[in-house]
């Protein structure tokens, strides 16, 4: 019976479902106990889950686990579909700390579980959670996911969101009211309320505390509240590294749609950024370069040819000044990401969860030499200079999975005139990750964009022969998600992902799959196995 059970588990466990936490930097520190690495196996079934927890808490019987590992037959090393997640609504818990559409989400979770989706992504807003200090609503959602038999990827968002309104903590708001310069600021002096400027990361601007300390407090508070969920329900923690939960500057216009296709603007005009720039310029011996940002960069929605900075030929970006500025600007972003991930590793490193963070897919104007929209967002990725290697290096250092959105985008259907090519950018980022051994996860750009072609593209990306995608998260649950126009496409997509090409002799495992998704009660699984 026991052996049979194990075979079953092995069959169900997804290949590489869980990143080993021994990669790269920090493993020696965390690995001191030798325990954290044991719990890495994917919680494929309840029984398994329990076992790994038990073992994780008792180092003495570690060897037993190893034996079990060996007992399981070799996994099929075909390109598996990875784990599939669906994003919960951004405002699943919103201002006022209540669960929105609880009943709909409960029904939706159950539908997803029955469909065979592995888990859901739970966005947690810094403002919503920390203002009340009450985690009960988020915990309730997590419990709903658990009860539905789903895993959780928790996204910790440190930025604010306009619609649905997810604010920054009130203390941050009041600090910003007192000193607006802690917010990002554009050339026209507009304050960007999206998130705190990277320049103040380590300055005691929040009632004597630094933002990094506040972030850490938020992380720890989350960890404490969700202690019971780690390893069993929560499989991933995603750190929002900036606006939109992505590693980037808020280079998009302060108002307007997300479908921004312009070049964007540099966000270096608050007091602290300018001071840092000045210091940096002085250190490099060109104090005059530190007085302001580029004067000849175009506005948010202007084309790269407007002004001189981004011009394909003889643009300022290629001048020594341009290189100086862009290095500094992108360096600030990288160092912010590095420090924040350090904090996150510190807080979550010993937990059996995977750490991840999102990097935007700034595909507009990628087909130019200067790639302005990437430059303004902080990625110094121009013709002849790879900006993503450095990013991947940081992710590798923290064993952090890189989440890339836009897996549904095809070059073909991009708007004319913005010289967009998502696919080549995607492969560039993928290449960087591969070189640095960074795991990849995917997301779609947005539900609205997803058409049948979008789903096909996702499938292509996820199921590709050389795909290293660890998971894919589909955004997001909501009315449109369940609408008759969308839901059938989605179910079809999920089912085709679950059984990419049903091999004729794969039937038994498919049956197991089916039964597993009906009920994941270990007793029943066992019964099925022996039957």
């Amino acid at each position: 019976m026991e052996a049979g059970l194990m075979v079953k588990q092995a069959a169900v466990a997804k290949p590489d479902a869980f990143p080993a936490r021994s990669l790269g930097f920090g493993s020696s520190v965390r690995g001191g106990s030798g325990i954290s690495r044991i719990g890495f196996e994917a919680p494929a079934s309840v029984a398994w889950r329990k076992r790994s927890i038990r073992v994780a808490r008792d180092g003495a019987i570690r060897s037993e686990v190893v034996v079990e590992e060996k007992a399981s037959p070799p996994r099929k090393d075909k390109a598996g579909p990875g784990r599939l997640y669906v994003g919960l609504p951004l405002d699943v818990v919103s201002d006022g700390n209540v669960v929105n559409h609880g009943k709909a989400i409960a029904a939706g979770l159950r539908a997803l579980a029955l469909l065979g989706v592995d888990g859901v992504e739970l966005p947690i807003s810094w403002g919503v959670a920390m203002d009340s200090g009450d985690w009960s609503s988020y915990l309730a959602v997590a419990a709903m996911a658990r009860d539905a038999g789903l895993h959780l990827r928790v996204s910790l968002h440190l930025h604010c969101h306009r619609r649905p309104r997810l604010p920054l903590p009130k203390s941050v708001d009041s600090a910003a009211a007192a000193d607006p310069d802690i917010l990002f600021t554009d050339r026209a002096g507009r304050r960007r309320a999206d998130c705190l400027s990277f320049a103040v990361d380590d300055l005691p601007v929040l009632d004597g505390r630094t933002p990094m300390e506040a972030y850490e407090e938020f992380f720890r508070s989350f960890r404490l509240a969700f202690a019971d969920f780690f390893g069993s329900v929560i499989t991933d923690v995603t750190i929002g590294l900036g606006p939109n939960g992505e590693l980037r500057y808020p280079s998009f216009p302060p108002t307007g749609s997300n479908r921004f296709t312009g070049v964007g603007e540099f966000q270096c005009y608050n007091k602290y950024m300018l001071a840092d720039l000045k210091r940096h310029a002085e250190e490099t011996g060109s104090p005059l370069w530190g007085l302001s940002g580029p004067h000849d960069a175009p506005g948010y929605n202007q084309s790269p040819d407007f002004g001189n900075f981004f011009k394909d030929h003889d643009g300022s970006w290629e001048t020594p000044y341009g290189q100086f500025f862009l290095s500094w600007y992108s360096g600030k972003l990288l160092s912010h990401g590095d420090r924040l991930l350090s904090v996150a590793s510190e807080v979550f490193g010993d937990l059996p969860v995977a750490l991840s963070a999102k990097v935007p897919l700034l595909h507009c104007w990628h087909d130019t030499r200067s790639r302005p929209s990437q430059l303004t967002a902080g990625f110094y990725n121009t013709d002849g200079r790879d900006g993503y290697g450095a990013v991947a290096k940081i992710f590798a250092k923290h064993s952090c999975t890189m989440i890339i959105p836009g897996m549904d985008l095809t070059d073909g259907e991009q708007p004319q005139g913005v010289r967009s090519c998502p696919q080549s950018l995607l492969s560039q980022i993928k290449g960087a990750c591969k070189r640095h051994g960074v795991k990849l996860a995917g997301e779609n750009s947005s539900l609205v964009r997803v058409s049948t072609a979008g789903f096909t593209k996702i499938k292509e990306n996820v199921l590709a022969e050389n795909s290293t995608l660890d998971s894919f998260t589909y955004h997001r649950m909501g009315a449109e998600f369940f609408s008759p126009d969308h839901w059938p496409l989605f179910t079809e997509f999920i089912r085709s992902m679950a059984q990419p090409e049903m091999e004729k002799d794969d039937i038994p495992s498919n049956l197991e799959r089916l039964s597993l998704s009906i009920n994941s009660v270990p007793g029943n699984d066992r019964e099925l196995q022996s039957a």
Partner: protein
């Protein structure tokens, strides 16, 4: 279980061999013969197919001699034929047999030993019958407990088997002597009336078909302690009664037991204190008609030959199915399974079915036992796909998919003499058994019986072969690969689609349904911008319709006529028959007519979606339909399509396919129907794709004048007695309406159910709920309730849940005076009730009673129910006496009939 015998037949032996068959490639002779097919001088072979069940110990060989070419003269001109492929399909045809279950209770011995009783349960149908039964014991107060329990040991007949700890199974014995009235199988249970048993419960099980027989969905129940009757009895001594009890969750495959009672009561029998214990036993004899579905095995042999004369292959169908057999067929090109119409010439007696398939009537065989046919098929085709049609409603398919006969791949490489008879048989597993019969002497390479692993070509290649040149070997390998491909094709088809999948198919279907329901629920809630709205929806006040009159519910003064019954399709010209009645229906006061489903309800798989755009159906042609709708419009009646989606889509084999279709194209289809036919609205079955949350979308897209959905589930009963409170039942219907955002109404199944009980058992008090309101949906959300007492499913010749006979007018007196939108069943309109119904409708119209009228219940007692509606009408139903109080309003009788009376204000 599906049994397909796969039989690649290569060629007939030159002379006199009665066996022909297939030989594995094994020598130079093969190529020789390949080039020189032997001509058979006369059509003189019989195909013999044998089947062997490989399962342990159950082997049985059943040689079936097929009528062969000898009997098919037209084959004589096909001089040169090679049998390339032959397959015998085993078909399961169901046949319904009527019979009855008898229940008799009488004293076991002479009068002196009064306490010995005998219960005899009989059944007059063939089968292996088992009684699954239990008892319940009295509790301390003499009341009966309602759980099943095992009978005391002295009650258990020999041969009984205990089932868990609550039931027992005893086989019925076959009686040797049988007269007309007597049961064929019988079981007697003897017991002592002093045993404290309160009731005996049972269901019948037929072991061979695995069908359970219950009574109206519940277990049979013979009660000796009649607790409830004390409260309700109409005075008579109803010491004994039999009624369905609450046995739950035996999946009843079939149960159509209608009570046709001939209850004998013995009023003199006294046993115990009637008031307190009321425990009495009296003789009883009852009969319950049952319908049993039997499966009759039949066969169909399909063989493929090639012909030198034409460049076509000949496909021969041969079956022992009695009666007319129509092959509904098409061919496949390439590897796909897409149906394509075969090229001409078509066989005689062939019709083209909607440009997608051919329907060929097979010719009866001379011996009268079955029929046969020869079809010509181009050699380029990869296979023939078909299903069988026995009559309009009976189609035979391959466990949910089409039958497929491969042609192309076999034809290119086959030709071989061999008399090995190889039968490949597949039983939802992975092994193929290769059975070779003894061989005539000139077959030099007999092979032992060998079991082949289908998935491993090596096994086949490693079959003994005579040493031979490399070339041939390669050829042979290539050839066997071909065969293996075929086998795999079949095996995977069978094991995949039929075997394993079939088992999980139902589960999968259920899961998909559940998923959809959940998704629709989530959708409908997400759409409501105010969070938490639905949570508070249990408050009935919230459920009241919004102020604005939503579309899809008509004017509020609608009266529906259900314009068809279960028989309507029989004439083939229902539309025109109905058209002739348009004026009459209009003059009777109807405003909306509900028409039958516009498309064929059973369509062979493969091309569902386009079929929906074909509105020629067994009710008439599209032109007649349009004409009908026009006539109704002219007569001032709205035509409402019975968009019975369920029927249409259930036949679709591929879940994704239908699901996909439902979503993407349905709106378009509905709009098309509205435009093309002129329908004004819909009646929606509650099926997949029509969960309330989605209905709203369809309603918004099609803007129907009137729409009504049918959410059908069972009312709550306790111990066989219907609960007074049916709030849960109506809540589910209200939930559905709510999920549509009130864009559609729903049939008030609750009201119908309650009327059943109230009228049947003289329990008119049921017609008032705890709050003094009507107890059905009409009491909660009248404007969305479509009240009815019968429809084509419940009444008519179907009789699934027929309204208490003879009390229909009381039902109509209720629904036609009360709020809600009443629907009158076609059969009732054109019956002797017509005048009374017509009178009630005109009273309703004259007094301007509408779907939101208010009801004041003035009396709800055992034998009479009375109410005032809008202060303008008073109605009473039931045998009891009621007169509206004379006060400021003067009431005059407006309509009157047996056990009902309607007054209006003077």
């Amino acid at each position: 279980m599906l049994l397909v015998r796969w039989k690649p037949v290569l060629h007939c032996p030159p002379q006199g061999h009665r066996r022909r068959g297939f030989a594995w490639p094994r020598g130079p002779r093969r190529s020789l013969l390949l080039r020189r097919p032997i001509r058979s001088p006369a059509p003189a072979f019989l195909s013999i197919s044998s089947s062997k069940f490989s399962q342990a110990g159950r082997a049985r060989v059943r040689p079936v001699v097929r009528a062969g070419l000898a009997q098919t003269p037209s084959l004589a001109d096909v001089e040169n034929t090679e049998i390339l492929f032959s397959e015998t399909l085993s078909l399961k045809r169901s046949q319904t047999v009527e019979g009855k279950i008898t229940v008799r209770l009488d004293p076991a011995v002479a009068e002196e030993e009064v306490s010995k009783w005998r219960l005899t349960i009989g059944c007059n149908l063939e089968g292996k019958w088992t009684l699954h039964w239990g008892v319940s014991y009295c509790d301390d107060l003499g009341r009966q407990a309602f759980e099943w329990d095992q009978p005391p040991p002295e009650m258990r007949p020999p041969e009984s088997v205990l089932i868990k700890d609550y039931a027992i199974e005893t086989p019925l014995k076959r009686l040797s002597s049988q007269s007309e009235r007597q049961a064929l199988h019988e079981l007697q249970i003897e017991f002592d009336s002093n045993t404290p048993i309160a009731a005996i419960h049972f269901v019948l099980k037929e072991e061979e078909t695995g069908a359970w027989f219950q009574h109206k969905g519940r277990d049979f129940r013979i009660s000796f302690t009649d607790y409830f009757e004390v409260a309700n009895s109409v005075g008579g001594n109803q010491g004994f009664s039999i009624w369905p009890g609450g046995f739950d969750q035996i999946s009843s495959l079939l149960l159509k037991a209608e009570e046709s009672t001939s209850q004998k009561e013995d009023p003199d029998d006294e046993d115990g204190n009637v008031v307190k214990q009321n425990r009495c036993i009296a003789p009883i004899y009852k009969e319950f008609p049952i319908l049993k579905e039997e499966f009759v095995p039949n066969h169909m042999t399909v063989s493929v030959r090639s012909s030198d004369k034409t460049d076509k292959n000949i496909v021969q169908f041969d079956t022992d199915l009695p009666g007319d057999v129509v092959i509904h067929w098409g061919v496949c090109k390439d590897d796909g399974r897409k149906w394509v119409i075969p090229s001409t010439p078509h066989p005689p007696a062939t019709k083209i079915f909607r440009h997608k398939a051919l329907q060929t009537l097979l010719q009866p065989k001379p011996d009268g036992l079955g029929s046969w046919g020869l079809f010509l098929v181009d050699q380029g085709t990869s296979g023939v796909v078909f299903v069988l049609k026995l009559n309009e409603y009976t189609w035979l398919n391959n466990n949910g998919t089409d039958f497929f006969i491969p042609i192309g791949s076999v034809s290119s490489t086959t030709a071989e003499i061999g008399s090995d008879d190889i039968v490949h048989e597949q039983q939802a597993g992975t092994e193929i058994h290769d059975v070779r019969n003894s061989l005539p002497p000139n077959n030099s390479y007999p092979l032992q019986n060998k079991s082949l692993e289908a998935s491993d070509p090596k096994n086949i290649n490693s079959l003994p072969m005579k040493p031979q040149g490399t070339e041939e070997l390669i050829e042979a390998v290539a050839y066997t690969d071909e065969i293996i491909k075929e086998i795999r094709h079949l095996v995977t088809d069978i094991s995949l689609e039929k075997g394993k999948r079939a088992k999980s198919k139902e589960a999968q279907e259920n899961i998909l349904q559940e998923i959809e329901k959940l998704a629709a629920e989530a959708y409908s809630i997400f759409r409501i911008s105010i969070p938490g709205f639905v949570e508070s929806a249990s408050d009935t006040e919230l459920l009241k319709p919004a102020v604005k009159l939503s579309s899809g519910t008509g004017s509020g003064y609608e009266i529906l006529c259900q314009g068809f019954n279960w028989e309507s399709h029989k004439s083939g010209r229902w539309y025109s028959e109905l058209r002739d009645k348009a004026k009459e229906l209009s003059s009777l006061g109807f405003t909306v007519i509900w028409l039958p489903p516009p498309t064929e309800s059973v369509s062979p798989e493969g091309y569902m979606p386009k079929d929906l755009y074909n509105l020629n159906s067994r009710y008439g042609s599209l032109e007649e339909l349009k004409d009908l709708v026009n006539s109704f419009h002219e007569a001032g009646i709205k035509g409402r399509g019975n968009k019975s989606s369920g029927d249409n889509f259930h036949a679709a084999p591929n879940i994704d396919h239908s699901q996909d279709f439902v979503r993407r194209d349905l709106k378009e289809w509905l709009c098309w129907l509205r435009k093309e036919v002129g329908y004004d609205g819909w009646r929606l079955d509650f099926v997949r794709g029509f969960w309330g949350g989605y209905v709203k979308d369809y309603m918004e897209a099609t803007e129907p004048y009137f729409a009504v959905g049918e959410y059908w589930d069972s009312l709550s009963y306790t111990y066989g007695d219907m609960d007074h409170n049916q709030d849960a039942h109506r809540q589910r219907i209200v939930d559905w309406i709510n999920a549509t955002n009130g864009t559609a109404g729903a049939f008030d199944v609750t009201t119908k159910g309650i009327l059943h009980s109230a009228l049947e058992k003289c329990e008119y008090w049921r017609l008032s709920d705890q709050n003094g309101k009507p107890p059905g949906v009409v009491g909660w959300w009248a404007s969305r309730a479509v009240t009815f007492i019968e429809n084509h499913d419940t009444g008519s010749t179907q009789g699934h849940w027929r309204f208490p006979s003879g009390k229909e007018m009381q039902g109509y007196a209720y629904i036609l005076t009360h709020p809600g939108t009443p629907a009158v069943f076609y059969d009732h309109i054109f019956s002797h009730y017509q005048q009374e119904i017509s009178r009630l409708i005109s009273v309703r119209n004259e007094n301007k009673i509408h779907c939101r009228s208010t009801v004041k219940i003035t009396k709800a007692e055992r034998d009479v129910y009375a109410a005032e509606i809008d202060g303008k009408l008073a109605v009473k139903i039931g045998p009891g006496h009621y007169e509206p109080p004379d006060g400021p309003t003067k009431w005059v009788v407006a309509a009157e009939g047996r056990d009902y009376k309607v007054w209006e204000t003077s």
